[in-house]
């Protein structure tokens, strides 16, 4: 296998991957990113670190997939990474939507219960602060 010396790009790739992983870990440390959402980011960061350290790996992957031009394998991996992250986001958004719906309904039901409870207990002394209806908004 012909080894072309393109060390500069390898250094950049290693540095870039490390910086990326550091960024994600930093975000987790500052509680700006929840661990469960960072798993995919960390996984792909680690994958890119691995690929930039062991450059032969890319050729191995490309050959085993029948890709003639090995850098194209990088794009394939990138696209897979992006798509899986997007699907992950859709999952999270769906779950959040469901939870917000349930919480909104609960709040509505609780407010109703509270209104009617206040109404009931306000029946006796209706002139307490002039708001006999006890409207709870």
């Amino acid at each position: 296998m012909q080894t072309i010396n393109v060390n500069i790009i390898q250094y950049i790739a290693v540095f870039g991957s490390l910086a990326f992983i550091a960024l994600i870990i930093g975000l987790i440390r500052n509680r700006k990113l929840k661990e469960e959402y960072a798993i995919l980011w960390l996984f792909f960061g680690a994958l890119f670190l691995f690929l930039s350290i062991w450059r032969g790996a890319l050729d191995v992957i490309a050959r085993s997939l029948g890709i003639v031009y090995s850098p194209a394998a990088i794009f394939l991996i990138l696209i897979i990474a992006l798509i899986s992250l997007l699907i992950h986001f859709s999952l999270v958004i769906s779950r959040l939507t469901e939870q917000i719906k349930d919480i909104s309904q609960e709040i509505g039901l609780l407010k109703l219960k509270m209104d009617e409870h206040i109404d009931d207990s306000a029946d006796g002394d209706s002139d307490r602060d002039g708001k006999a209806s006890g409207k709870f908004v």
Binding site: T97, S104, G108, L112, D115, E116
Partner: protein, 252 residues
Amino acid sequence: MSRQVSDTGKILAVIPAYNEEASISGVVASIQSEDPHIDILVVNDGSKDRTGEIARSIPGVHVIDLPCNLGIGGAVQAGFKYAGRENYEIAFQFDGDGQHLASEIPRLLDPIRSDSADVVIGSRFSGHSTGYRSTLARRMGIGIFSLVNSMIVGRRITDNTSGFRAYNREAIVFLAKNYPMDYPEPEAVIILGRNGFRIVEAPVAMRDRMGGRSSINGLRSLYYMVKVLLAIGVNVIRPKLKRRGNSADDQR
């Protein structure tokens, strides 16, 4: 576990309302004068107008103010949750825009009272012709739903977009847990039908709306069709849901 619903069983009217200040009091009054024993729950779905205030000012009306706009499905489901917790035997949906007629309520409730159905859909198209007029696109959409849903449910359902529906207690408890969100009516037919609920249609007349406007028009109707058909398809490949989850977690 079929049960005869006595005439004294509690009945709830669930009225989803989004910006219906023009029609809401008329709608409530029409139900109250039709049958004063029916409890009324207005689900104010985050209206920007005075719908909630107006509804609250009517004596004997329960009002749920949702803190944000959930859409018709989320609003109606809040009503099912209320009906489930407050032990209603029958709940029916009655739209806040005034297109449903209170005089048709008995037609909707009778099959449930006699326990010949779990779910009754008030249909504009079954039975006598009501001269319902609409755009070609809308009629086509209604036809497609009818064909698809009837095939899946195995029983002819002519009016899948009707929001005028009554449910017995078992269906209420089920729907409090499983109700579709965005354009729920056709999808709910599938979910109920596939989970063994007995659905019948009752021929009813409907009126043009008193105020407000349909949430579905123009380009949206295409999106509506695609989305609902997709949702229906998804429901067919979904595993059947637990219908009679034994009581404990149904209650609260």
